[in-house]
């Protein structure tokens, strides 16, 4: 399981964590991803988490539930979570199979996700201005 390309990457960007899932994860890998992510929130004192699932063209019910629990756990540890890049087919599958993602926020892509976190959080500590004008 440790060999081969990385399945997920968790990058720190200021006070945000950006976690990208590169390929479909099985249940064990998903649980491990959750644990890594939640652990890193504490380590980096992150205020916001972006989970990028743009590479996934399938998401099973366990995956959807795990995303929801990540959102809730992250909230308890003081971070706002947003899931970005859900593919159209995946989005429709999630709702038509009744796999609720609960109260977790979603956005179109990484850029939108960052914008959402910027608007939700009072001030991005050590913010690196990238020239984008907030609406």
């Amino acid at each position: 399981m440790t060999s081969g390309p990385k399945l997920v990457s968790i990058l720190r960007q200021g006070t945000y964590l950006i976690a990208s899932i590169h390929t479909a994860l099985d249940d064990t890998q998903m649980v491990r991803f959750r644990e890594d992510l939640i652990e890193q929130i504490g380590r980096h004192r992150s205020r916001g988490v972006i989970i990028d699932v743009a590479a996934l063209d399938v998401l099973d019910s366990f995956g959807a539930r795990t995303l929801r629990t990540i959102g809730e756990m992250a909230r308890l540890r003081g971070a706002v979570t947003v899931v970005v890049g859900i593919q159209p087919d995946v989005a429709f599958a999630i709702v038509s199979l009744g796999m609720s993602t609960g109260t977790i926020a979603t956005a179109l892509d990484l850029e939108e996700g960052l914008e959402y976190l910027d608007s939700r959080l009072p001030r991005r500590a050590g913010s690196t201005s990238d020239g984008r004008v907030p609406r």
Binding site: V83, V84, I86, P88, D89, A91, F92, I94, V95, S96, T101, T106, A107, L108, D109, E112, R135
Partner: protein, 303 residues
Amino acid sequence: MTTDETATVTAEVTADFPAIDHPDADQLLPQLVAHLREHRSRLRQEWASRIQEAGLLHAMTPQEMAAETTSVYDNYVEVLETGSVEALQRYARDLSERIIPRGVETHEVVGIVLLLRDVLARSLFEKYQRDFGLLNRMLDAYEPAANRIANTVAVSFVDERERVIRQQQDSIRELSTPVLPVRERLLILPIIGVLDSERARQLTEQLLGGIRTHRAKVVVIDITGVPDVDEAVANHLVQTVDASRLMGASVIITGLSPEIAQTLVTIGVDLSKMDTIGDLQGGLEEAERLLGYAVRENGMGGP
């Protein structure tokens, strides 16, 4: 050795069928074809008059009918001769293409082919009425071929009709769910006409795809033109709204008719998450508000 074997086989066959003075089944069809060629104009005319008697093919002028019956007759005989229906299939499809727009019905097409079959069978009766055994075997050879021809023509005709219908359905479908970008990050989907489950599915596909390509943040679905929806479609609509939210877009539904509102309430879907506004104008104003545009009354009193 080969000659030996052939000899034995022939011997066996002759043993099984002692009446060898009759022509072999292989020779029956060529004989039949020759007969039909010989009496071509008489049989064709008889057929044409039978068609007129039956009152079929009103849509065609006598000249056209003469031309078409001649080609159908020739194709028919050719199929009997070669046993291959491909040419006939092509011809039937081509003919259908020409006559369907003029309102020729399926029963007429099948009717005229069956009439031809009948006319030819009668001419066989007439010719072989003295030799009953031969007539029998002639019909044995003729009937399956004739049935196959009738089948081919009917199937080609129906196929052509279905192709036309499919083509029209496709073009209606393409027209039916436009996704229109009106402002940066704002899409409008006006839906007009009955929303069945197939169209609802397509709507979802177009909407979710549209959100992605236009990077939409707000989508206004206007269903003023939809008379009614059933439960399945209403549920589908709600799911579409949820799916859009997962893709980061808010959906505003405008123009719900009283009937649709009642359906939605009756089936008990969770409406708290649905953002609905009375008309398209209000929907657009709300969408612009969500996008951060300021909507201002023109206070000068003029329009």
